[in-house]
């Protein structure tokens, strides 16, 4: 997650996922790593970028299509991880689906 993703020419899609973290994040980073490994195997996955600061996490994953995002959102291990994140690790979060139109 610490490289600029080499994406194809736009348009493609970004899932922007910011989250304010709970005080106790034990298990969160391990789960995030294993989810990223799983995402890499999904059809239409392009790459992911992320960072952290002071109880805050920001991840942007890139996908070839809305359909690929939808398929990933229904993956059962992903759904379990999201439930755990929402109940235990995240104080506040949102998921933004965006169409990348231009890159320079």
């Amino acid at each position: 997650m610490s490289k600029v993703v080499d994406a194809p020419e736009p348009p493609y899609y970004a899932v922007i996922a910011p989250a304010e973290l709970a005080d106790d994040t034990r298990g969160y980073f391990e789960m995030a790593e294993s989810l990223i490994e799983l995402a890499r195997k999904q059809p239409g996955f392009i790459g992911i970028e992320g960072g952290y600061m002071k109880g805050f996490s920001l991840a942007v994953s890139y996908w070839e299509s809305l359909e690929a995002i939808q398929n990933w959102s229904r993956n059962s291990r992903h759904m379990l991880a999201k439930d755990k994140a929402k109940s235990d690790w995240f104080k506040k979060y949102v998921t933004r689906i965006a169409k990348v139109e231009k890159v320079y």
Copy 2:
């Protein structure tokens, strides 16, 4: 930059700015902070989220329109900061302009 941005209902625009940082980032974080303060005063600015990890920086700013993004990209202090970042602080970077279509 460590809060989830409260944005209006979509559509609105995101500027996704990942960067691989040089080894010597002296001055970078101060510059970033002062640029964010300046961005907050721009018409059409909604908010910014960001994070860091291992020599990598990721920032996503939100804007009401493409025009607002264009105006900000032409701001002279912003342009100077970008030049400095490209020459001194960033090893690799890209700017992705994306239209936020859905939030959940």
